[in-house]
């Protein structure tokens, strides 16, 4: 899962990777686009809707933007395990528990794919984790909201993963090859996440009054934060001074935040109707002329407050992550010790 609401932070160190560049360049030059000038060659690749690969020359800002975005995406995956992890021990059946564990396991895996993709740009996983733990790289703000009831697990799958998929599918065509390929894998695996969430709510909505109320309460609390996941407005006048224009020119972003948000609303309203749940927006109405659902004003003050650290769970999420990392130190040490012993044994056997 993943949102698009990340604020931009200080750029990262992103050094070029070394290696057998000379020999590789010889091979790489046999390509459909040929140009002497690096920038021209880069632009031509983008214009031809070709992928940029790790050994290609790329502008520093392109590299920095990608490192920041992929790192934040990776962080979102692993922080995103926390709100749901909260319910693994209390899932209402063995079936639900197994599903929730499988889903959390997927999020961990998605984080790893993404850290690896970012590493092709010259940063390291350790460096990214340090920046996350220091609060210098962000993760999606949606995970700073609490999971108060079991129905929240359903709402996260349905709304949060639904919004994430809306964001992620276009990223499968992102101009940076390793990121695009990681996203293809993520999207394929994530297809069950949204359905399991919908299924939870589908069952609750047809259950007892108390269950139905619980489902409605979850929808009430998760609807607006899910819309915020697409990030601040970036079309019309709001396009001024955002990263959207540049990210689009670079082929990193394919649709504006506002377009994706509208698509999400259009997709989700009929699903809510099917569930028999109300979405907490009095302005929600079908617009015949536009052919879209109109929706009310998003509380951007709340959004910025959560982005800047004052959400309900910001401190808790980060603290939990730091603790998990430091308490896991012995596992990393033990694995290293085991590897060292194995290689010693192999040496002495040889």
């Amino acid at each position: 899962m993943y949102g698009n609401d990340h604020s931009s932070d200080a750029p990262l160190n992103a050094a070029e990777a070394g290696g057998v560049d000379e020999a590789m360049a010889h091979v790489d030059r046999r390509d459909s686009v040929d140009s002497g000038d690096e920038q021209e060659r880069f632009d031509a690749l983008l214009a031809a809707d070709q992928r940029i690969e790790p050994r290609d020359w790329m502008p520093d800002d392109y590299r920095k933007t990608l490192v920041r975005q992929i790192a934040q995406h990776a962080h979102s995956e692993i922080i995103g395990m926390q709100p749901e992890g909260n319910w693994i021990t209390r899932a209402p059946s063995l079936r639900r528990k197994a599903i929730l564990m499988a889903k959390s396991q997927d999020e961990a895996g998605h984080g790893l794919y993404l850290y690896s993709a970012a590493e092709t740009l010259g940063t390291s996983r350790g460096e990214m984790l340090d920046l996350l733990h220091a609060g210098k790289q962000k993760y999606s703000s949606i995970f700073n909201y609490p999971t108060l009831t079991w129905a929240d697990v359903g709402a996260i799958g349905w709304l949060v993963d639904g919004a994430a998929i809306m964001n992620q599918v276009p990223l499968c065509r992102c101009s940076y090859g390793p990121y695009a390929r990681a996203m293809i894998r993520v999207c394929k695996e994530e297809s069950f996440h949204q359905r399991q969430g919908f299924e939870i709510l589908w069952n609750l909505a047809r259950g007892t009054d108390a269950q139905r109320e619980m489902a409605q309460d979850a929808a009430n609390r998760w609807w607006w934060p899910s819309l915020m996941m697409f990030g601040p407005p970036d079309t019309g006048e709001a396009a001024q001074g955002t990263h959207t224009e540049l990210s689009m020119a670079w082929g990193i972003k394919r649709f504006s935040n506002d377009d994706l948000r509208q698509k999400f609303v259009d997709m989700t309203v009929p699903q809510a109707q099917k569930l028999g749940l109300d979405l907490p927006d009095d302005d929600l109405a079908w617009d015949d002329e536009r052919g879209h659902w109109n929706f009310g004003e998003i509380d951007w003050d709340e959004f910025w407050q959560v982005v800047k650290g004052d959400g309900p769970c910001n401190a808790q999420r980060l603290e939990h992550r730091r603790t998990a990392h430091s308490e896991g130190a012995w596992v990393r040490e033990a694995a290293n010790a085991y590897a060292a012993k194995q290689s010693q044994r192999a040496e002495s056997a040889a």
Partner: protein, 95 residues
């Protein structure tokens, strides 16, 4: 390896931009640079690739065919990892 025999290299070719490198085959060569040039001549004579990786075959650790069943067994009984496992109404779009 017999004395004087060149080491074996595994060759991975990227068919075109945007695709993963995939395993194409292997070859012998005295060092990485020559392996790369040889790989170009052996595996991409008809423009099959835009990028090549060569990896010393001795550096590859592979899963054992004997352990195939037990090694991959943990994934076999987790049908809930597939979207078709879930019971949702069929007429809901985009789910």
């Amino acid at each position: 390896m017999n004395a004087g025999e060149w080491p074996l290299w595994e060759v991975f070719v990227r068919g075109k931009r945007g695709l993963n490198h995939t395993h194409a085959g292997s070859l012998h060569a005295p060092d990485a640079t020559m392996a790369l040039r040889n790989a170009r001549d052996v595996y991409t004579r008809r423009g099959e690739g835009v990028s090549i990786w060569v990896v010393p075959a001795s550096s590859i650790t592979a899963s054992s065919p004997d352990e195939r069943d037990s090694f991959f067994d943990p994934a076999a009984d987790k049908v809930y990892r597939h979207p078709t496992f879930y019971d949702v109404p069929e007429d809901v779009e985009y789910l």
